[in-house]
């Protein structure tokens, strides 16, 4: 029973990591890609960690997996925040379909929305 749960958890994790990677390729600009990279990959890695924990139980390996999962949950948003902020300040262009950019408006800078049809 538990090993079946572990397998399901591992597979859910792998599928979400795959979707995250697909999102990195398909989405048009840095900021949208960051969304795919943070959300899907977080759940994917959490699923894999949970699967490892379920398979190995309460031994050094399983506990390390759980601690790693908590660490990832706390640090992934921070690093994505730092990357997105850095890109905005460095003036990396937003996708041409972007509707609104209040950050640059508030700073009084030139619009960094990509031009196009």
């Amino acid at each position: 029973m538990i090993s079946a749960l572990a397998l399901i958890s591992l597979w859910v994790g792998v599928v979400f990591v795959l979707l995250g990677a697909l999102g990195l390729v398909r989405f048009p600009d840095v900021y949208n890609r960051m969304q795919a990279a943070t959300k899907c990959v977080t759940l994917g890695v959490l699923g894999i960690m949970l699967g490892v924990f379920l398979r190995s139980g309460f031994n050094p390996l399983g506990i390390k997996a759980i601690i790693g999962a908590v660490f990832i949950l706390l640090t992934v948003p921070v690093s994505s925040h730092a990357l997105a902020r850095g890109s905005l300040i460095a003036g990396v262009k937003l996708w041409k379909g972007t509707v609104k950019d209040q950050f640059t408006e508030d700073r009084g800078g030139k619009s960094i929305i990509e031009e196009g049809k």
Partner: protein, 162 residues
């Protein structure tokens, strides 16, 4: 001082979990390392011991964790569907919202929680203003937007950290 003690205890617990043995040698080494790191970094801990020992806050934290996990799952399915849909369904924009949270640590957790909810990514915090990259702009009214983005988080975080 109380912050250093809190950090020492937390560090020792994490060490013991990582080594997963109650051998006295491990405990001594862990205590020494936790003592050194608590001495070096204890001053940076953004929580006060008075708040740490309040059981009501811990209760709200326990309520908050399932809410957060549910939002996180929703976010993942939402982005996964977008990735798989042929037209991508994108209408991104960067908007700003205000928060009523007072302490730094509460704002940090709000920003992290927002990053984990469907389609939103915190880009910048300036005092009580958060700039959010939203993958699909569903509203332009500031109050409605703030409600949609913050979801249930502000209510819980105000009770946990403020």
């Amino acid at each position: 001082m109380s912050r250093r003690i809190a950090l020492f205890i937390a560090g020792l617990i994490i060490w013991l979990l990582l080594s997963w043995t109650l051998n006295y040698q491990e405990i001594i080494i862990g205590a020494v390392i936790a003592l050194i790191s608590a001495g070096m970094f204890g001053g940076y801990l953004p929580l006060e011991a008075k708040k740490l020992l309040n059981p009501v806050r811990w209760f709200w934290l326990l309520v908050y964790i399932p809410v957060f996990i549910w939002q996180c799952l929703k976010a993942n399915v939402d982005v996964a569907l977008r990735v798989l849909s042929p037209g991508l369904n994108l209408k991104p924009g960067i908007v700003k919202i205000k928060t009523s949270l007072k302490t730094e640590i509460a704002r940090v957790f709000l920003a992290n929680s927002i990053t984990m909810t469907p389609g939103t990514l915190t880009v910048e915090i300036q005092d009580d203003t958060l700039y959010i990259h939203w993958i699909e702009l569903r509203s332009t009214d500031p109050e409605e937007m703030a409600k949609m983005i913050k979801g249930p988080f502000e209510f819980f975080l105000a009770r946990i950290f403020d």
